[in-house]
Symmetry: C2
Subunit: 195 residues, 2 copies
Amino acid sequence: MQQLTIIPPRSGVSFILKKGQRLTIVDIEGEQVSDFICYNLHDKAEYLSSGRTIDYAETIFLTTGHPFYSNRSNIMFDMISDTVGRHDFLLTPCSADTFRIIYGHTEPHRGCFGNLCEALKEYGITPDNIPVSFNIFMHVTVDEDNGKVSVLPPKSKAGDYVVLEARMDLLVGLTACSAEMSNNYSFKPIGYRIE
Amino acid sequence: MQQLTIIPPRSGVSFILKKGQRLTIVDIEGEQVSDFICYNLHDKAEYLSSGRTIDYAETIFLTTGHPFYSNRSNIMFDMISDTVGRHDFLLTPCSADTFRIIYGHTEPHRGCFGNLCEALKEYGITPDNIPVSFNIFMHVTVDEDNGKVSVLPPKSKAGDYVVLEARMDLLVGLTACSAEMSNNYSFKPIGYRIE
């Protein structure tokens, strides 16, 4: 089996995932979130859409068997394996503004948002093109009565993973998340493998 | 008091809402959803972001007192009055694809998505620029255990309304929603007033 590529703590990468290829994303040490976004490689105005995906899946908890849709309602990839079963698709990548507004930091980290911007810049993606991300291993609960959103420690243990299979050629952005609360206050790496 | 402008059933409009102006959106007959999207009038790459707004509000149920954020984490407007208290910010505007995928229609209506595209075309907004909408009066529940998303009849009665106050100059798209399930299987008009 091919080795994992490592995304160091609080950083991000971009790469191409061709139609039919499988992407395995591994929580190497446990309780670490990985923000995922993607675009149609050949027309980057087509991007992964939380709203379309949740609408068609009729659940906010996406897992094995769910197709993930673009803003144009095309299937971009399927999740074909998932050892955790709890990820978030409501929230945006953490950013300097997140750290400023939610955490009150005065010299904020650029967050997953800044890391994705940097990693995708070479493909012509601008900050305004970064949509709501699929936040793998992120444990977000919603109180069904009052709507309250809570960010809890991830349910993922060391070695847990998801596998995504591309249904079109994709440009992918992927991070080891930078937000304290999302990762139970410890920043760890994320591993990935393309097969 | 200024008269209401009427959006006929299954249609949409666009208009400018200047900073400080108040927009009242009225469910004239009851149980009718209105999809709302907006852009910074002077730089339309800045748009209303469900992810940023939910993240900072820490709830999926936005109501009186909540600021609504752009993708750049700027406040676009505040909700200053709300006689219903239940709206949706998870789902995308209904579209021909929605009707095809969810309802199985073979000759689908263009939906709120198509209506918004048409109404905003003159301002240079393309279909790929239509984000997740704030679906006023839409009654969406989330099962906190399994994440299941359900669309129920709106809680709004005839005459119920929300009031939004712009915090920047906005280009607004607004509809009388076209999806059967969202409106308890009856298509009605929506009224609005700018003050």
